[in-house]
Amino acid sequence: MRDLYQSQRAMRAIRQTAMQRGVIAVLDIGTSKIACLVLRFDGPESIDKAEGISPMAGESAFRVIGAATTRSRGMRFGEIDTMNETERAIRTVVQAAQKMAQVRVDHVIATISGGEPRSYGLAGEIELDGEAVDEQDVARCLASCEVPDLGPGREVLHAQPVNFALDHRTGMNDPRGQVGQALSCDMHLLSVDSRVVENLMHCVKRCDLELAGIASSAYVAGKASLVEDEQELGAACIDMGGGTTSLSIFWRKHMIYADSVALGGDQVTSDISKGLQVPLAVAERLKTLHGGVVATSRDDRDMIELGGESGDWERDRRTVSRAELIGIMRPRVEEILEDVRVRLDAAGFDALPSRAIVLTGGGSSIPGLDRLAPRILGQQVRTSRPIRVAGLPERATGAAFAATVGLCLFAANPQDEFWDFEVPVDRGSARSLRMAVRWFKDNW
């Protein structure tokens, strides 16, 4: 874990420099679209310290000064498939956002939506010597967590302490300064395929940008879409993207589980394309303009001209009723939601006090989804749009931009991750030097 620790620390350091320079870009690389927002930070003074935000995080108020979206290229299931194409798409979107912001960005924070995320719950416990808990104790406690075998080629994406317990008191956000005998912590660890991360890093690097952080798209979509109460009481956010549908479960304002289903809007489009024998572009247009999942009697009479683009313009004048289109879309959407249901059941979502489910992402805007989803997922389902952030253009406020907006929040006030804490003294390589520095600090 040391290697990753260093690389994540390096990314955090880059993020701090970007904060000081005041400009950072967030890059949501999805399967169907790539969005880039340029953020300008106004400094940490301009927001008041809210409860639960650790001062370590270096949070800051921000404003979106540049935004651009482009069709994604070379991506499959949230992973980079053709790097040249993806690189071009990133260049397009970054250039457009830079042009709007009239400022050059060097640092980006990116999402990863693919890479088979897997969640692990970790627990660690240490004995205290009866004094107030300090940062070293927290670091030791976190370091005492036993890391499970992630498997070959896996890398840790998030490792967030979600709970601290001091003796019999649990549910603490920050145990520092309190007195107790035993400190234990729970940590949520999210691992992804390391090749996916490496490809992303490489791709961003080829665009002359520096990667200042990576976040799981499930996590950031949840941050943007769930309101504070939902995050506190327990809720699942389902981000229905183009290539993947990712889900994250929040409880007590921490993500405790994340997963993704490799099914999404692209599968719906390809079903339409196959079923109606139309090109993918036409199928996409049919889906977004006429699609739905609940048929009514009127839909039988609602005829849609296909415009098959088969070249035989005179003869190929097929039409299809809207009910037929819905009949093609609905099974696939049901399949996606059922897969999500399976993942939620596996995660023990039923055990949470509040079982709210929030649908977001581009797929959540299918008409009728709010009537279909409760049948599969349970009664407390709502569709949502991400919260508003300052300066965001109107066209980027839709549900499809949940992960993008969440990434802004992630950039502005990140959660403390494992690597943000001090290196425990007895593990550091420069132990004696650190001790000497500490001694000097204490004595002068």
């Binding site: 260049r91 397009t92 970054v94 250039q95 830079q98 400022v103 070249g311 313009w313 005179e314």
Partner: protein, 298 residues
């Protein structure tokens, strides 16, 4: 054929250009958005261009001279305007003689533009005049140079080896005079260093008012102490410190004993606690004879 044409247009036409910028275009745009490069273009390049144009223009000496001449001409045209011309001088606060001197001292011929009068220099020059304590100059509306003068008021006549001079209350020379009789109203001092102790001299004169008619003058001896010289060569030698009380003692003695009316040549107060009186030689001898007669020889 129509279908074929459409097909031709759709199927075989070159594909739409890649919307992605080329790597070069991307890098150039990023370079253009770099703050230093932006500043260079928006500020540096115009400044450089203007500097180059100016350099190229003024590289030619003829053109430079023409510009200098043009500027000089424009400047003098403005300076010569009627509104800026000074045509008269008004001197206030000076006696007629001093005013004449001041007018003679002005280093320019009128009329003249007010821009060309260096008021500071003129004021410094006038302030150097002995009779002038303070002088203020300004150009008044209507083209008048107003000179407000405060004259030095002479309070003493000072006789030195070089001649007679007038001193004001601060010891500054306030002009010279040809003869003592021109200013009989002012008391006389003499000796080197008298000008440094004018206040003391004035205090002594004030104290010596009972002897006023008999005083010839105050003599500064060795830049150290005063001697009051009376008519008939009588002298009162005063101490270095606190001469005024010593003089008052002498005067009190004079009023009580009528000291100065006797044949006294010198009253020595250099030791202020002990007054020493010197009689004229004949009187002293007579006095001695009388004493001898009274007391008998031996």
């Amino acid at each position: 054929m129509r279908a074929l044409i459409r097909r031709h247009a759709r199927g075989f036409a070159p594909r739409a250009a890649d919307p992605a910028p080329s790597r070069l275009a991307y890098r150039m745009q990023r370079l253009a958005l770099t703050p230093s490069v932006r500043r260079g273009f928006t500020l540096g390049a115009p400044i450089f261009a203007v500097a180059m144009i100016l350099t190229a223009t003024f590289a030619d000496p003829d053109r430079r001279a023409a510009v200098v001449a043009w500027v000089g001409e424009a400047k003098s045209q403005i300076l010569r305007r009627e509104e800026f011309m000074v045509r008269a001088v008004a001197v206030d606060g000076a006696s007629a003689g001093l005013a004449r001197t001041i007018r003679a001292q002005l280093p320019f011929e009128l009329p003249l533009s007010s821009f060309e009068i260096d008021l500071d220099a003129v004021r410094d020059k006038l302030a150097k005049l002995e009779a002038v304590a303070r002088v203020d100059l300004r150009v008044r509306s209507g083209g008048v140079l107003q000179i407000d003068v405060t004259e030095r008021v002479p309070v003493l006549v000072w006789r030195t080896a070089e001649g007679l001079a007038l001193l004001d209350g601060e010891g500054h020379r306030a002009g010279g005079i040809e003869a003592r009789t021109l200013r009989p109203d002012l008391p006389l001092v003499a000796g080197r260093g008298a000008d440094a102790r004018v206040a003391e001299a004035l205090a002594l004169y004030a104290a010596a008012r009972p002897l006023q008619g008999a005083i010839r003058g105050l003599l500064r001896e060795g830049e150290r102490r005063w001697t009051l010289v009376l008519d008939g060569g009588q002298k009162i030698l005063l101490p270095e410190t606190d001469p005024v009380p010593a003089l008052e003692r002498v005067i009190a003695t004079d009023e009580a004993e009528d000291l100065m009316a006797r044949d006294v040549v010198l009253v020595d107060m250099r030791n202020a606690r002990r007054m020493t009186v010197r009689l004229a030689e004949d009187s002293a001898r007579d006095l001695r004879k009388i004493k001898l007669l009274e007391l008998g020889d031996d």
